[in-house]
């Protein structure tokens, strides 16, 4: 490889990382605005997932906003369905639907249901919200892709809390058994579930050993480090004999200091004052020592 080309690729990568960081920041701001307007929702798990969602939707996923049902698209299944607003924010930014519609989240008749609804909103691959079921659907899609000899991939984001559900492990076992290398699991390990820390409710550790035992390739990353996210998403494409899990270590509520790792912010919307404060922090315009 020519030296000049190498320099150019490094610069491209740097520019990509910067672009995606900015997209993630915008997603977080949109998310807070939507939740505040809706008056309910889940800030903690949406904010923890924002960087990965940005990397997937603004870089990795092969999708066509003007043709949501394009047969050769990559599929993204959000198994932790309550965190869908961060995906809505990405879909709107990409032009799947008008951005004005974002503020109808959770309203009667809106396609932006409190949990994802594939029938009501093109761009959503699977209706989820009952935890522990998304990976099974993703496995079915991956098997279909294999049967068709297709080259699209299926990505499925799960939560660490929902990793307590038995069905998720049934799906993991089948995917491992069938060596579904067109399937990428993403575990958004933000450490907190509704009532308390995951480790206090029902510890899922040693989670890496579990996934490996089920026949998966596992890559651990800091889920808020965009370079690591991109490296992991590239790496899993090189695994050809088994499904891959990106274990994304994240912080619930990431980006809003006073929401971070606080179970209180699992499922409560910020009020107007809190939203303004959160957005100021995300915009980097916050003053003083925070809340």
């Amino acid at each position: 490889m020519e030296a000049a080309q190498q320099v150019s690729e490094v610069e491209d990568r740097r520019a990509l990382v910067e672009r995606l960081r900015e997209e993630a920041r915008r997603l977080r701001i949109t998310d807070i605005r939507m939740l505040e307007k809706a008056g309910s929702g889940h800030p903690g798990g949406t904010l923890s997932a924002a960087d990965m969602i940005a990397a997937l939707y603004f870089h990795k996923l092969r999708i066509r906003p003007d043709d949501p049902m394009w047969a050769d698209r990559d599929r993204f299944v959000l198994s932790k369905g309550h965190c869908i607003p961060i995906v809505y924010a990405a879909l709107a930014r990409l032009g799947f639907f008008p951005e004005e519609q974002l503020m109808t989240l959770r309203e009667l008749g809106s396609p932006l249901q409190g949990h994802p609804d594939r029938v009501r909103l093109p761009g959503i691959e699977a209706s989820t919200g009952s935890l522990g079921q998304g990976l099974s659907i993703a496995v079915g899609m991956a098997i279909a892709g294999r049967l068709d000899g297709a080259d699209w991939r299926v990505y499925c984001m799960m939560g660490d809390g929902e990793s307590q559900a038995g069905q998720l492990w049934e799906a993991a076992m089948l995917a491992g058994k069938r060596g579904l290398s067109n399937l990428v699991g993403i575990l958004d390990q933000n450490l907190v579930q509704q009532s308390d820390l995951v480790e206090r409710i029902l510890d899922i550790e040693p989670v890496v050993a579990k996934w490996r035992a089920f026949g998966w390739h596992v890559r651990e990353i800091d889920g808020h480090d965009m370079e690591q996210i991109l490296d992991a998403l590239d790496e899993v494409e090189t695994v050809t004999d088994r499904p891959a899990l990106v274990l994304s270590h994240t912080v619930k509520g990431k980006g809003v200091s006073w929401m971070e790792l606080d179970p209180e912010w699992h499922g409560k919307a910020p009020d107007a004052e809190q939203a303004a404060r959160a957005i100021a922090e995300l915009e980097g315009t916050a003053t003083g020592g925070g809340a």
Partner: protein, 308 residues
């Protein structure tokens, strides 16, 4: 020739299996529900999920959302036991999944209550977009499976372990949602579904010997149910008996009662079916013990006649 509808189902899947969209999923019961026949012929499109029915149902959904016609099969009780998964991953998803629940009802016999689905029709009927079908013999099962290749939307197909007499002619044509009048009569209407259609026919024979002409109706589609045929029976026969190998809470009897009540029909209705979880025994013994054999259908018809 008497044949179990589960066997007719397995054979029919092979016949339609040339369609590359069809994928069959199993939860380690392929020999019981005859899907092993499909596996022998189309191994690439057979997905063994192991004893993990919730996952099997979700995988079926994913296959369907990616364009496949996914047939997930297990004992009826093990499918309907995953009601919430079916609700979320199949129904709400509007996925083109077919759930084939075999070994329905007390008719399975010896294995007893844990394997007897007696509430599955009620559970599946409660899902808004779920079509619920229970064929009454082998030919109806075959035509139904063929029909379901092109049907859009989630379907629950209820099948028997035990052999059933032929109740339909060999040239039978299946029409979704259209109950079949197997025998004309205007003194009483006997409505069966699946394994109890043959009981209703035998009861009608018995009643004919006493000068009572019973109309026998095969309600193969439990949802959407055939209002027209039921209301015509109420109007023309005046009294009705339903008989099902299912409990009386939410199955055929309930569906018929809903139609009658919603249309202001005051026709008396007797609902025959189980009222507990079932038990071990021989199939025929159990049909007697649970009051759903021909003898009980005839008795119910006589009692209704006396009461009018």
């Amino acid at each position: 020739m008497a044949k179990a509808t589960r066997e007719a189902f397995g054979e029919a899947l092979v016949r339609v299996g040339g369609d590359p969209r069809i994928v069959v999923l199993d939860g380690d019961l392929m020999k019981s529900n005859f899907t092993y026949l499909f596996r022998e012929r189309y191994p690439d499109r057979f997905v063994e999920c192991g004893i993990a029915e919730s996952n099997m149902i979700g995988v079926a959904s994913g296959l369907a959302l990616a364009g496949k016609i996914a047939w997930a099969s297990s004992f009826a009780c093990f499918l309907s036991g995953r009601l919430e998964t079916i609700r979320m991953s199949v129904g709400y998803q509007a996925a083109n999944v077919r759930l084939a629940g075999t070994h329905a009802g007390v008719g399975i016999g010896d294995d007893g209550a844990s394997q007897m689905a007696l509430e599955d029709v009620a559970a599946m009927r409660a899902l808004p977009n779920m079509t619920v079908i229970q064929p009454g013999d082998a030919v109806e099962t075959e035509r139904c499976v063929e029909y379901l290749v092109e049907h859009e939307g989630p379907v629950y197909l209820r099948l028997t372990r035990q052999k059933l007499d032929d109740v339909n002619p060999p040239d039978y044509r299946f029409e979704l949602g259209k109950a079949v009048v197997l025998r004309e009569g205007s003194d009483v209407a006997l409505l069966g579904t699946g394994a109890t259609v043959q009981e209703a026919l035998k009861a009608a024979d018995e009643l004919a010997g006493e000068g009572v002409e019973a109309r026998v109706i095969n309600v193969h589609t439990l949802k959407p149910i055939d209002h027209e045929t039921i209301l015509a029976a109420a109007r023309e026969c005046g009294r009705l008996v339903t008989v099902e190998d299912h409990n009386v809470f939410g199955g055929l009897g309930s569906a018929v009662a809903e139609v009658l009540a919603a249309n202001g029909s005051g026709a008396p209705l007797t609902v025959l079916g189980a009222t507990d979880y079932g038990q071990s025994g021989k199939s025929e013994e159990l049909y007697d013990a649970y009051g759903i054999s021909a003898k009980h259908v005839a008795e119910a018809a006589r009692a209704l006649a006396k009461g009018s």
